[in-house]
Subunit: 752 residues, 2 copies
């Protein structure tokens, strides 16, 4: 099976490649010329593509279906008067949804005009745009605006940028149908006020290196190409001042790491990828010689493939940073990007798996290619070719990253997402050294995601709700250490932006032993945190064992809370606890703690405390923890202080201890199955019999774990991370030799 390589290819380094902010000259050299005699359509599809798609509709069922769906949706309203209301409502309200529906409608109708030649479709686009040409010059700050980046048509400027992208594409389709006078009316009335608004009134926003500005630049650029306006294209590519410090090219530099990791995480990659691909496609159609899709060694290809690797079996994007869990790769943005990728980067069987689930294609050459491939494909894989992968974060790939450890295949895939990226701008969470666990397509240990009901007007106009920052951004709602009940960087975004953890070593190629070790010295002043995650596939086991070794170093005493935001029902706990029967209080007062109820509290058993829960996937999961007599255990549940009922009532299991230098060892173990239909449950008990910390100091951390009747020993070196360094470790009467920073022994034999 062919997959797109995630690492940089060995292809000749192409001349467009630039170092961010260093080679403005090159950015300025990258330009395309538009003029009043440009061919149209050119943005979404060229004249030639349109001809091919017309033919393809007769040949490829999926293309035909997608065409029919779009046609049916437009035919419902074509010929009727389309309302273009004065902006009034927040998201989910009438005027918001109407303007949103309108831009989709004219985009679709424009394509239909090209594909059918029927004037009614062109007329629909023209009539709507002429109404906007009257409306837009009258608009000021939207009455529902709540941020500095307010919109005109919508409550926030981002939605205005969406409007500009689709309206530009629509206009391009009917360019030749319009009279010069009509063109001028629309260009001056509908487009110019929006472009001016972006590039002058909101110039700082337009010039950001941020997903909103990607949409804005794509909008201005597409309108530029569609209206043959060189000035717009130049601003789109190089920023409002056309100096290359901002704009689309700077965004392609600044928002991705060399691996294609997008700074805000996979949920926002999905969102940003549409304007990246759609504008790049328009640029490429205008001048393929520019090789925009090869820019930064195919960075847009890496971005797409990297985002897809960061999805769950159900297609949902991993929900770290602000993210809504319902969003999956069947969303429109990925359809658009994937179909263009198929055209420009060539065939990819992994993309075909996803295209089949999307079950629709775009009406251009890419979409046609996908539809043709699906039509002749045999044995399309059920799932994307998921594998263990790592992404470095930062423009230069030097600002931490994320590692995804995987074992199993098909429905039985287990994925652990270990996150040690930089903050990731305003949507980033304070979650240094956090991990999430997915198994069999279900979330097992979760990242809350974001608190938002997108587009439901009653929920604050569909905006991010206050609990998103107050809870979902905070460290406690993640699965990583919370020091003194405070969030990383005291929850200060500007502080968090400055730093990132450091990956010490990792190995993801040996399926038996995958390991990632990361150090953070900045999230908590005076506390160094070293978390090493092992995913071990023991012989004759269908599921992996996850060993989580979390070492702190500090000169002063701290409270250390280690939360597991698990999803499931408590089956058993070896810890005797007190349940807060008829009165319960919040877990804390601030930093997200105020949203958890304390359901029960107990004192851990030393040296081992075990907790088993049953997930909705009917598999059991146990967390076996090395604990002391002084370790407290909390069973908590979200819902406290949730005055607007915005938060899910999810549970968390929290281990609390006090100390300076502590080593937490936790073993996460999926096991057994509950079958309520056949009434059989298998392996409902943990196999972990003991956890012993032999030593943990500046030199070595050594752990012995008894798993059923097997003896598992992990030795990791804490002061030398060289892969070639030879170590000799004395254990009882034995001498253990190993190379590199760690070794794993199974029944005294090297398992590494």
């Amino acid at each position: 099976m062919k997959t797109i390589a995630l690492q940089a290819s060995n292809k000749e380094f192409n001349f467009y490649y630039i170092k961010m902010f260093k080679s403005i000259f090159f950015v300025l050299a990258f330009t395309i010329t538009v003029n009043a005699f440009g061919q149209h359509p050119i943005c979404f599809a060229t004249k030639q593509e349109v001809l091919e798609v017309k033919n393809g509709i007769k040949l490829y069922p999926l293309l035909a279906n997608s065409y029919k769906e779009i046609k049916a949706s437009v035919d419902e309203v074509v010929g009727k008067d389309i309302d273009v209301p004065y902006p009034k409502d927040a998201a989910g309200g009438y005027t918001h949804d109407k303007h949103k529906t309108n831009y989709t409608l004219i985009y679709n109708s424009g394509m239909l005009y090209q594909l059918t030649g029927e004037e009614k479709y062109a007329k629909l686009v023209k009539d709507v745009l002429l109404k906007y040409a009257i409306l837009n010059p009258t608009l000021k700050k939207h009455p529902q605006a709540t941020s500095a980046y307010y919109g005109h048509l919508f409550w926030q400027s981002l939605n205005d940028a969406n409007w500009l992208v689709y309206s530009g594409l629509a206009y391009d389709c009917i360019h030749d149908y319009l009279t010069p006078a009509e063109r001028k009316t629309i260009e001056d009335g509908a487009f110019k006020p929006e472009v001016d608004f972006f590039t002058k009134e909101l110039k700082d926003w337009f010039n950001l290196i941020h997903n909103h500005a990607v949409w804005a630049c794509a909008g201005v650029g597409i309108v530029g190409i569609a209206t043959d306006n060189q000035d717009y294209v130049d601003m789109a590519l190089k920023g409002a001042d056309k100096d290359g410090k901002a704009g689309f090219l700077a965004q392609m530099e600044g928002l991705f790491s060399p691996d294609g990791y997008y700074a805000e995480g996979p949920y926002y990659t999905r969102y940003a990828i549409l304007p990246f691909y759609v504008f790049a496609n328009a640029l490429n159609n205008k001048n393929s010689g520019l090789k925009i899709f090869n820019y930064r060694k195919n960075i847009l290809q890496k971005a797409l493939v990297g985002a897809l690797q960061q999805t769950n079996l159900n297609g949902g994007f991993y929900s770290y940073n602000d993210a809504l869990k319902e969003k999956s790769y069947i969303s429109n943005e990925i359809v658009e990007a994937l179909d263009i990728a198929w055209k420009v980067y060539g065939k990819d069987s992994g993309l075909l798996t996803i295209a089949e689930k999307q079950n629709r294609v775009t009406l251009n050459a890419g979409g046609m290619g996908v539809a043709a491939a699906l039509n002749s494909a045999k044995n399309i894989a059920k799932y994307y070719p998921y594998k263990s992968v790592e992404f470095a974060d930062g423009t230069n790939g030097d600002r931490g990253g994320v590692s995804i450890l995987r074992t199993g295949s098909g429905d039985n895939l287990t994925s652990l997402i270990y996150k040690y990226t930089s903050l990731g701008m305003a949507h980033g969470h304070f979650d240094k050294l956090n991990y999430s666990l997915f198994d069999e397509g279900s979330e097992i240990i979760q990242d809350y995601g974001a608190v938002r009901f997108i587009n439901i007007e009653q929920k604050w106009g569909g905006r991010y709700l206050p609990e998103s920052k107050a809870l979902a951004h905070q460290t406690i709602s993640h699965n990583t250490l919370v020091v003194d009940e405070k969030s990383n960087y005291n929850g200060i975004e500007s502080e968090g932006e400055k730093y990132h953890p450091i990956k010490l070593y990792s190995s993801i190629d040996n399926k038996n032993v995958q390991v990632v070790s990361v150090l953070d010295t900045t999230a908590y002043a005076g506390v160094n945190m070293l978390r090493t995650i092992y995913m071990l596939q023991l012989p004759n086991e269908s599921k992996p064992l996850i060993v989580d070794v979390f070492k702190t170093a500090s000169n002063t005493l701290h409270q250390y809370d280690l939360p597991f935001n698990y999803l499931g029902t408590l089956i058993s706990s070896s810890c005797k606890y007190q349940y807060f029967k008829d009165k319960q209080i919040a877990f804390g007062k601030r930093n997200g703690y105020q949203f958890y109820w304390k359901e029960a509290e107990g004192i851990a058993n030393a040296p081992l405390t075990q907790f088993t829960f049953l997930n909705g996937n009917n598999t059991f999961y146990s967390i076996s923890s090395l604990t002391e007599d002084s370790t407290k255990v909390y069973f908590t549940r979200l819902g406290a202080n949730d005055t607007n009922f915005n938060i899910r009532r999810d549970p968390a299991y929290v281990l609390r201890n006090y100390g300076t230098n502590k080593t937490f060892v936790n073993v996460i173990e999926p096991h057994g199955k509950f079958n309520p239909v056949s009434e059989i449950s298998t392996d409902s008990y943990s196999d972990v019999k003991s956890i012993k910390l032999e030593e943990s100091n500046n030199e070595y951390t050594v752990v012995n774990i008894t798993v059923h009747n097997k003896q598992l020993m992990i030795i990791q070196c804490n002061n030398n991370y060289s892969k070639t360094e030879e170590h000799t470790y004395k254990y009882n009467d034995k001498t253990i030799n190993f190379k590199g920073p760690y070794t794993v022994l199974l029944n005294n034999a090297n398992f590494k």
Copy 2:
């Protein structure tokens, strides 16, 4: 499409029909003779059937697959020594699961012996049964027993009965393979101790009219036929004393209403239907002239079809009374019953829909018939032919019942289950006049079901947990009135068993207006409750409107709580409430209230309070309530006093008021859709603008409801339920004439 009629057919009343306990003579006349020269196999399948199935395996893929699956499962262990351990563990533990696995194994191996003729399969059965022949005579009360009906092999006698059914079937398959000496050893050692245990030691239990005893009688009867033991067969049919007051025939009388409604509800119908069908099949194979399947006008057919009508789109049985929601019609019991039904009652396209989802068949004539039909069937319907149905409860159909109101079709089916049955024995709940709502295959307003983790040893050996009686049986966990924070009949089972509500009238044939009106005068001493439910399908609406008119009559002041155990997330509430931010207390002290937390509390708006929630199916639901200034509103959530984490954290919305004669009017309204992928939400607001109670007295209850711009008026008569009575009602200047106990007007026109 052919469906099996739910009502009694017009067929000649057959002579087996008897009145319970009145015609013991007839029961005694119903007998079959077995003797030492009986043909074997005969119970599960006859010799002739075996020949046909052998051939069918070559012809019908589903039969072949089912055969292969069974063969593969047996081949894994055939030839190996099978452990028959001394009983020790509760459900979910090793010995429990082993004995369970063993009886399935020998049943399968016995069938394989018949189908392949290979001795190894017979030997496996023989060896295992010989081990039981040594073990069983040594057994006494199981060490994990907790009830009076303890088992020997298992913690409860019911599981021993399961063992006897399957072991009898297995023995029958290898009867002719065994030497007479081996037969005697197994009959005396493996079977006789169990039969004696049931019919002597646990005679009271064996003679119950209850699902456990159905299993016990089926076990004894099947062993009787398999071992040619007339005494066993007679006891199975007529009770341990062979007087017809107990036993299988009395159970067929006593456990079903004439409609086929099974006294414990659909979850237990599923469970009891296997021994009913499997033993009846054995009897029928032995002597088809007895026409056991035509007994009580095909009561077993009505039972199966009735149970299937009481399932959700996902196949789950409606969870009223003790019930686990995970159980669906793909469970083994329904496979066995359905396949036999296919053989004895003939083709039924509804059954084929279910058989397709079951995706397996039994290896006898019925299973072969289903596999053959599926092989040649075209266009099998996606869903069972669900329709509005009513079932009377009680042997004579005179003890209340249940009405299922339905509108919509396919994925868009809305089902309201209005329950007014008798208590339903020990698994019955105190839920008089309760309803549950399902929509689009999701639970919207739920019955909690039961609190049990079946077969998970850590959860009290998989038994019903204490919270099942303490919470799930109590009235507050249902959606019906709770008077003075007490459950119906003060939660006393023996009291509850005596009474039942009275249906006053119903109409389910007019899709626009379905109505059921039921009176209860016994659940609360001194409080009469009249609840009338209207399911209205207004013109041009995709979803129905449910109007719930609940009228109380009492001479003394009471606290009335009306809970809605909804499932979903609060989207909006028109009621100003106080959220218990950082400290919350239990909703009450007893009768189930102690398990709810009070999350928030408010004072209703008069005269209309509205509450909208979003279900997991992404549809909005609103409850619009006629309220007064004195009405309190509680937002509660389960979890208080849940010391073992056994209870789901589900919410409830509770309206509280005080009074004597009160009329509660609530309108339940599914509306709109939330699409988080396309980020569009539609119709997220309730259309109900006002509810006005014009009057409510002994003569009439009259309600006016404004729905968007439509005026809906309901007039119901409270003292005459005749369908032919003519009423004249004066309203303002108008005179409204109607016939029968109610009328519904839409914009002043008759909608009824």
